[in-house]
Amino acid sequence: MARPKIPRKSTNVDMTAMCDVAFLLLSFFILTTKPKPSTAVPIDTPSSVVTKKAPEKDLVLISLNKDNKIFLSTGDSKADKDSKQAIIESVNTNKNLGLTPTEIALLTKAPFIGVPLAQLKQQAKMSPDDMNATTLSGILVKDSTDNEMVDWLRGVKDAYAGRQVNILLKGDNVAKYPGFKYILAALKKNDLLKFQMITNPSAIPAGSVLYVGIKNGTIKSAD
């Protein structure tokens, strides 16, 4: 009996299509991820079990770095930059700093505010590339009475009057507690009683109440 001729097929699969897909996905991920925000003030945040993502708009970010220097910045969007300008203008009028419109514009362009009120004019002259945690001395917060964060947060309150503002605190692991305490005091003084602390996500310890609760469905999340 003659065997029917089975045409031999190549086992080679054309990889071109798969390659296309891989690189398409790759370019998608690269383009959608946001570059890390300015690293001029490196901060190593502590971790927590909460899963709520940090907000990305209408934010005011207070950074507390490892040398207990305090910096103030806002989001990168146009609306947030406008708010930043409003904050600076408000502080300028409240404290009679005498900043010119050009200086205010320059400070708005700066990635963050990180000098005592008296030195704002100097910071305005600096190029944004030169601004980092070592060149700037941080917002002046010596003790609970000599606390310029109170003035800045008053500016924040004025700029966001009637609007929701997300106040974020980004503190470094090794920052000392007093710095944090003065920020809290300044927030309280301005009646800004809700704020959020930026943390790194971490796993919920097994066996804890929260762990068991989430497993049973009695607790939705740690937030």
């Binding site: 390659c19 891989a22 945040t45 993502k53 507690y177 943390t199």
Partner: protein, 188 residues
């Protein structure tokens, strides 16, 4: 599309007069490239999701000078946690006795059990008071706040440390008692 000559490798019969100029395949094996592509994708996915920060919410109590509006706390249902330098944790239940008899040392690993034990032995008025001293760092405070989430303690407050408590912490940490003035005037 990418295939240009598919039959070069096969048994293609040439005419008798044609010299065998060896035809090289124009096909490139794309498998390594696909591997590389997916490797990079995995890398990007992992690095991006890891660094997404989360936000721990904290609501501050409004400052009231009026003592009638201040929250009165049942002495017995409170657990006070004190934070000192080098990740030291101390705690006491109820009110601190003047001689420090109920002042105990702990650490970040064991404090959870203490909180749970106290929580289970107390009614719903259970409250945790967190008092960091000036030597403690930001990480300690966030860790303890995080511990409140883990143990599901709904009532907790961040309160300034009193001079007496601060002294207890410092003495326990091995600081000579003389280094702490009896009534620290500058302390807040």
């Amino acid at each position: 599309m990418a295939e240009m000559d598919t039959s070069s490798g096969g048994g293609h019969k040439k005419g008798p007069g044609v010299k065998k100029g060896k035809k090289m395949s124009t096909r490139v094996d794309l498998t390594p490239m696909v591997d590389l592509g997916f490797l990079l994708i995995t890398f990007f996915i992992f690095t991006t999701t890891m660094s997404k920060p989360t936000a721990l919410k904290l609501n501050l109590p409004a400052d009231t000078k009026d003592p009638n509006q201040q929250n009165k706390l049942n002495d017995k249902s409170a657990l006070t946690i004190l934070l000192g330098k080098e990740n030291n944790v101390f705690y006491y239940e109820g009110q601190l006795s003047p001689n420090g008899a109920n002042f105990k040392a702990s650490n970040f690993k064991e404090i959870r059990d203490e909180i749970m034990q106290k929580k289970n032995n107390t009614d719903t008025t259970f409250m945790v008071i967190i008092k960091p001293n000036d030597e403690s760092n930001y990480k300690n405070v966030v860790d303890i706040l995080d511990e409140m989430k883990i143990t599901q303690v709904g009532r907790y407050a961040l309160v300034d440390i009193t001079p007496m408590e601060d002294q207890f912490v410092r003495i326990t940490e091995g600081e000579p008692a003389t280094a702490v003035p009896a009534a620290p005037a500058g302390k807040k």
